[in-house]
């Protein structure tokens, strides 16, 4: 086969039909083909005698009946936020956890976290509920409750062994994400945060299409300052634009490191191209702030503790509070009420 350099499938097509795989045709499409994805596929006059007829006729058609079911299930959830980044290891899960703890700091609010990272789930460990399992009741799957008002769902709760690999291809991952949205009894919630894996692939497409009807408030982008990371985040912003997801803002994580001995600040991941602030400006999205590297955040994550509760006075915590306030403003909420300045 001669290699092809152009993209065989336009991005817009994938976004319009994110979960329907094109039928695998066994022969070239004939003249007057109604189109293998059309309503009349396999039934048109020109389909008679075509080797693809049976394949086209049996391909699923029409809108996904589960999407309205998901919308019904999530009817009680007021705000749905995605945490995205094209790059791995920039702190998506850490930020999701911190955000969840920050939102849940007021007992009157209920917060849910859905871990859409199927192959590398981190939320359960960071929340300190790694050993929990999912309980199924008549109403659906019960989220694992970290606190009275903070529920979590992740694939980790379903694995027989802690270190088991989830060796799944796209469609199977999409299936589980659908179940997370359709079967889990999220109930009445103020915020549902969706933590995602790095990249712009199956998980992102399926979350986006499943939540289309319920409405996504927007996405928070996380990056680190160096260009290698910004490069991938740029792609993710491009994805959001094409998919019609509003970008609520960009957070720069690991912005600087203050030596605990001499308090000298080092730029470990140096922003040679202006960092997150410059990228936000370039792409025309709000910049929510810079969070410095603090080894204690990593420690808190390893032990599943809330960084907010343990180190309320650290510079990283102050920066995070600013980010949460900025985010609340973007959501049209009262920043002071969401994150009181105490």
């Amino acid at each position: 086969m001669a290699p092809s350099l152009e993209e065989p499938e336009p991005v817009q097509d994938v976004l319009n039909n994110p979960l329907k795989a094109r039928p695998q045709l066994v022969a070239p499409e004939p003249e007057h083909c109604p189109g293998p994805e059309s309503e009349r596929a396999g039934q048109a006059d020109s389909c008679a005698g075509c080797p693809n007829q049976a394949i086209c006729a049996s391909a699923p058609k029409g809108p996904d009946p589960d999407v309205p079911a998901i919308a019904a299930r999530l009817a009680g959830v007021r705000h749905k936020l995605l945490v995205l980044s094209g790059k791995g290891g920039v702190g998506k899960s850490t930020f999701t956890c911190l955000l969840a703890h920050a939102f849940a700091s007021d007992e009157a609010r209920t917060v849910g976290v859905m871990d859409a990272d199927i192959c590398g789930p981190s939320i359960p460990k960071m929340m300190g509920v790694e050993a929990e399992t999912v309980h199924v009741s008549a109403g659906g799957w019960e989220p694992v409750w970290v606190a009275d008002n903070l529920g979590v769902m992740s694939v980790q709760f379903m694995l027989p062994g802690r270190d088991d690999a989830v060796i799944w291809r796209g469609p199977k991952k999409n299936g589980l994400i659908k179940q997370f949205l359709k079967e889990v009894e999220w109930g009445a919630m103020d915020f549902l945060l969706v933590d995602t894996p790095p990249g712009t692939s199956d998980e992102h497409l399926s979350v986006n299409s499943f939540l289309k009807e319920s409405g996504i408030d927007g996405a928070v982008m996380v990056t680190t300052p160096q260009e290698v990371s910004l490069l991938d985040v740029r792609k993710e912003i491009d994805f959001c634009r094409k998919a019609g997801i509003r970008v609520l803002g960009l957070v720069e994580n690991m912005s600087g490191f203050v030596c605990p001995k001499c308090t000298h600040e080092s730029q470990i991941f140096r922003a040679t191209t202006g960092g997150g602030a410059a990228l936000a400006k370039e792409m025309g999205i709000p910049f929510l702030g810079e969070v410095p590297l603090d080894p204690r955040i990593g420690m808190a994550c390893d032990y599943g503790e809330s960084f907010f509760d343990h180190y309320p006075d650290s510079p990283a915590c102050e920066a995070l509070k600013g980010v949460v306030r900025g985010l609340a403003r973007e959501l049209g909420l009262d920043a002071e009420q969401v994150m009181p300045d105490d």
Partner: protein, 299 residues
């Protein structure tokens, strides 16, 4: 198949993102080339390709030849200096704009990886390093399947698994080690990246992401621990700006003096000089040793 004349294929894997797979791949490739081997790097991270940026060949385009694609040269062989050729192939070279998102579902990614493995004209080569995206999904399954089916016996040397020290990272990387067990890809060893940061002001070493997680994980899985790599901002600068690493007077790492020897802070982004400049980096001896261990394990 285009891989038939390659002696050894090494995968660089990690269940966790951002632990430094691409920077480890870069440094292993440079070290192997500096020890006189011809090296190719295949970047199968389709939605976040980093290798073009790492090698400073972002503007390069792939040329098509009869029968397949020609990889992009990073530097040519220099037999006098004992440096082997280094070439690279990535989806990044095929994109129109550097900020364009690649929104692909699994089957599309699978097809692309098969093409990468069958249609790149590497020719005769000592080592092929394959840089992977995080996770254990389509890219990895396709890669393992295709290699198990098409590679010659003994050609797939195994996987180098990268982690960072903190428990959140090793939890994901343990899954990747189990993936290797299930797909019967031998594990050459574990590299612990970002193991400590030496403050350039007071030389105090801080374990930003904890310590020793990689070693513990390697022991648990009975695989070799290849070593720990500290964070060196000078390496980041070398990649980002092309500046030769310079260290303050009196910087002695493992008995080797790195101080101020090369104060010509020339900033050139010429990719062909990367290997030469990398020799001034404090991480070079660490990777030299690990590369020796890997070669010994593989050959």
């Amino acid at each position: 198949m285009s891989l038939s004349k390659i002696k050894h294929i090494i995968l660089v894997l990690s269940g966790k993102g951002g632990v430094g797979k691409s920077s480890v791949t870069t440094q292993l490739a440079l070290s192997l080339a500096l020890s006189g081997h011809s090296v190719g790097v295949l970047d199968v991270d389709l939605t976040g390709p980093s290798m073009p940026r790492m090698f400073n060949i972002e503007n390069a385009k792939v040329t098509q030849a009869p029968g397949g694609w020609l990889p992009v040269p990073v530097h040519a062989a220099d037999p006098d200096a004992g440096i082997g050729e280094l070439r690279c192939m990535s989806l990044g070279f095929l994109l129109r704009g550097r900020g364009d998102a690649v929104v692909w579902r699994g089957p599309k990614k699978t097809a692309m990886i098969r093409q990468f493995l069958s249609d790149v004209l590497w020719g005769e080569m000592d080592y092929l390093l394959i840089d992977t995206p995080p996770g254990t999904s389509d890219e990895h399954i396709s890669l393992a399947e295709t290699l198990l089916k098409d590679a010659l016996p003994g050609q797939v040397a195994g996987a180098v698994v990268v982690t960072t020290p903190q428990a959140v990272a090793t939890a994901d990387v343990r899954k990747e080690l189990n993936f290797c067990v299930k797909t019967s890809i031998p594990v050459i060893g574990v590299i612990e990246n970002m193991a400590g940061f030496v403050c350039p002001n007071c030389a105090e070493c801080t374990d930003i992401f904890g310590k020793g997680g990689g070693q513990v994980m390697a022991n648990d899985f009975h695989v070799r621990f290849l070593g720990g790599v500290p964070i060196d901002p000078q390496f980041v600068m070398l990649i980002e700006t092309g500046r030769r690493p310079t260290y303050p007077q009196g910087t002695i790492i493992n008995g080797q003096d790195f101080s101020g020897a090369s104060v010509d802070a020339e900033e050139t982004k010429d990719a062909s000089l990367l290997a030469v400049k990398y020799q001034s980096c404090s991480l070079e001896p660490i990777f030299k040793k690990m590369t020796r261990d890997i070669i010994a394990a593989v050959e």
